[in-house]
């Protein structure tokens, strides 16, 4: 009888282990799709259109990983997550990678059992106010109500800022960005605060986008990037280098349209990146054409940026910090060799 019960207990206990530690690559290959955590809907970063097709800068990271691993950028299953849900979804193994405008912070990197695989967009916390308010600087916001999304690094940044400047505010924290925007529109709050890129995205969703302005202040560092579970170094490398392939593609001038030509006739660096020479793909446990597929199907960083948040999009965000290091920004890929 004891034996039986210990068998049952052991079985149950084994069933209660957290998500698998290693072998994400094998899991994804076996499943045939990549499970990618994105936002519930944020213009330019991860957004679903009427046909159910996802697009955005964060979505392109999911697509890049799928292209590198499965050879097909469309083999992605998107899981929309609120700020509160995202880390648990990754820890429990529900998603393979989290690409949801998530700030790389020390605490998250070191205590959640997660690893940040790079930076897709360098951002910072900003403020959006109604034009009618006549406010020109965030310092004038003493006593105001703030609409914020719960479970974000914004909650912490804003608290620091008001304390430093010895002014007061009341946070009204909502679960989703839709609620946050609705709170701002109804006048429940005087200002909405979030990463600045998201302010532009939320603004175009307002009934009267011209009635709101984004204040000049940027009060924190919010480097946004994809996240994976700790303890699976191979998978960590794959996500890190899939993103780097997009950035390196821009550095080398490889685009989705000239990629075949660069593979055939390009410089040695082009050939190494695209799998014509060397063993970069093999070292990752992927096909030699991993980066070729990324750039062919998703595009290089510049293509993705302009299409989703830059000149080719309604957001019209300029490259700023997110330009290449050669062009006055801080975007930089480790050496592709």
């Amino acid at each position: 009888m004891i034996k039986l019960s210990s068998l049952i207990v052991g079985g149950l206990a084994a069933g209660l282990t957290l998500g698998a530690q290693a072998g994400t690559l094998d899991d994804v290959k076996k499943r045939g799709t990549l499970s990618c955590g994105v936002s519930t809907g944020l213009a330019g970063f991860s957004q679903k259109d009427e046909k159910g097709k996802w697009s955005g800068l964060d979505v392109d990271v999911c697509r890049a990983v799928a292209a590198a691993v499965l050879g097909d950028a469309n083999k992605v299953q998107y899981k929309p997550l609120t700020a509160k849900e995202r880390f648990t979804a990754l820890q429990s193994g529900e998603i393979d990678v989290l690409s949801r405008n998530t700030t790389w912070t020390h605490t998250r990197d070191t205590s959640l059992g997660l690893n940040f695989a790079g930076v897709v967009y360098y951002d910072g916390t900003g403020f959006m106010v109604s034009k009618k308010l006549g406010v020109k600087s965030a310092k004038e916001l003493d006593g105001a109500n703030a609409c914020i999304q719960a479970g974000t690094s914004t909650e912490l940044a804003i608290s620091d800022y008001f304390r430093e400047n010895k002014i007061k505010y009341k946070p009204v924290t909502f679960d989703t960005s839709d609620q946050t925007r609705a709170g701002f529109e109804s006048g429940r709050c005087d200002f909405l605060t979030s990463d600045q890129s998201q302010l532009y995205a939320l603004r175009i969703g307002l009934k009267d986008p011209k009635g709101a302005i984004v204040l000049p202040e940027v009060i924190s560092k919010e480097p946004l990037g994809p996240v994976v579970r700790q303890g699976d170094d191979q998978w960590f490398n794959i996500v890190k280098w899939s993103l780097s392939a997009m950035i390196e593609g821009e550095e080398q001038g490889v685009t989705s349209s000239n990629v075949a030509d660069k593979l055939a006739n390009g410089k040695p660096g082009n050939k190494r990146l695209l799998g014509g020479e060397g063993e970069l793909g093999k070292n990752l446990g992927l096909n030699p054409d991993w980066a070729y597929q990324v750039i062919k199907q998703v595009g290089n960083y510049s293509e993705s940026f302009e299409r989703n948040v830059g000149s080719g999009s309604p957001l019209k965000i300029s490259r700023g910090l997110n330009a290449l290091w050669k062009d006055g920004g801080i975007l930089y890929s480790p050496a592709m060799r």
């Binding site: 206990a13 959640l112 909650e155 304390r163 009341k170 009204v172 429940r188």
Partner: protein
């Protein structure tokens, strides 16, 4: 003769088995104890394995665990707090802030739900067709619409459409209602105000004394005393008298438009209003049903008997029917109140900073310590509901039929 023999045979047989069962494990008493010990051991082992397994896994996955985070600074602010709170306070304090906000909305909800429930429950028995219909419509509507929808309705469709601070609806320039909430004047007591509070306390104690005195007198002499009217007079009169003597030691702090909104007075945030209204109206519909069931459970003969001794209709309800109906109603109330407390966790949908929202939501997310925060929340909701159960059971034994 034959019979006797049989009995003896049986006795012998019994003796035989008894001698065979001398081994202690055949003694039913010991046997039960052994099984129980085994079960307890098995359960302890089961939970030990689960817990140690969980902690091993957390460590292997690089996830922090333990309750140490409770003494760290939270670093974020909370919309509403019944005690002082700033972002430099600890997660433990966030926990307390959230807990108090949960208790606040639960108490308000339970109070208004009970009032609504009893009003609409009794209305069902009205001889007036319209009054009865209103009761039926209320119950059928609000009981059948999901609570979350009702909360969002009050918050987004009603309160969010109120005008901004500058165009507030106002009542005598003292009470203001706008999209930021309800702003009411606050009575701030000065020096002698303590006397007024004491007078109020004395009046409340007095009511209880008066009630038991009047009951004793009625039992002895049959004479009635206007307890209700006297009580009201005492509660209003005594503090008023004290205020008169001390020269009205109060100032009224009126809310006033300043900067981005109103300052001063008491602010009731729209999140609290929406949640309280939705919880009260929803639970009130269930309580109305419980009240109806309770009243219907009282045999009609009781009403007729009461009429035959000449009681007025109103007295029949309050003296004969409702006290007997309470035997059915109270156990149902118990479960409705417990549901209300659990349902208050829907606060997160509208930014009301209850325990679930500020602790299981934000604190969990900032620290990543899901198991610890959820465990603490479970303990709290469990304890609150045990407390409600305890109170209601005490109350129940008061209204129960006294066996003779």
């Amino acid at each position: 003769m034959l019979k006797q023999k049989t009995t003896e045979q049986i006795k012998a047989a019994t003796r035989k088995t008894e001698s065979g069962s001398h081994a202690f494990y055949n003694n039913p008493k010991y046997r039960a104890a052994i099984y129980q010990a085994l079960l307890i051991f098995g359960l302890a082992y089961f939970f030990f394995t689960i817990i140690s397994n969980t902690f091993d896994n957390l460590e292997a996955a690089g996830i922090k665990s333990g309750f140490g985070f409770l003494s760290n600074a939270a670093g974020y602010d909370v919309l509403m707090s019944l005690i002082d709170f700033s972002s430099t306070d600890t997660y433990l304090r966030v926990f307390i802030v959230g807990f108090l906000n949960t208790i606040l909305v639960s108490i308000l909800g339970i109070f208004f739900a009970t009032v609504l429930g009893f009003i609409f429950g009794v209305m069902y028995f009205s001889t007036n067709w319209i009054v009865k219909k209103i009761s039926v419509i209320y119950v059928e509507t609000f009981r059948n619409i999901p609570l979350l929808l009702q909360i969002l309705f009050w918050y987004s469709a009603v309160l969010a459409t109120l005008p901004g601070p500058r165009d507030s609806l106002s009542l005598g320039e003292a009470v203001f209602l706008n999209v930021r909430g309800l702003f009411i004047p606050k009575l701030v007591g000065e020096g002698g105000s303590i006397l007024v509070y004491l007078a109020l306390a004395a009046a409340i104690v007095g009511i209880f004394v008066l009630r038991s005195w009047a009951k004793k007198r009625q039992d002895a002499t049959g004479q009635q005393f206007p307890v209700f009217n006297t009580s009201v007079a005492m509660v209003i009169g005594l503090p008023f008298l004290a205020a008169l003597v001390t020269g009205f030691p109060f100032v009224i702090d009126y809310p006033a438009l300043q900067g981005f909104g109103f300052r001063g007075g008491i602010t009731v945030i729209p999140e609290l209003m929406a949640l309280t209204i939705a919880l009260s109206v929803y639970t009130g519909a269930f309580i109305a049903e419980a009240v109806r069931a309770g009243i219907q459970a009282v045999p009609h003969g009781q009403t007729e008997a009461a009429r035959s001794i000449g009681l007025r209709e109103g007295k029949i309800m309050s003296l004969i029917i409702v006290p007997q109906a309470m035997r059915v109603i109270v156990p149902l109330l118990n479960s409705e109140y417990q549901s209300l407390v659990k349902n208050s966790t829907l606060a997160a949908a509208i930014a009301y900073p209850d325990l679930f929202n500020v602790f299981v939501g934000t604190a969990l997310n900032q620290t990543g310590q899901a198991i610890e925060t959820i465990f603490m929340a479970i303990v709290v909701y469990f304890a609150v509901n045990m407390f409600i159960s305890f109170i209601m059971n005490r109350f129940n034994s008061n209204v129960e039929l006294v066996g003779r």
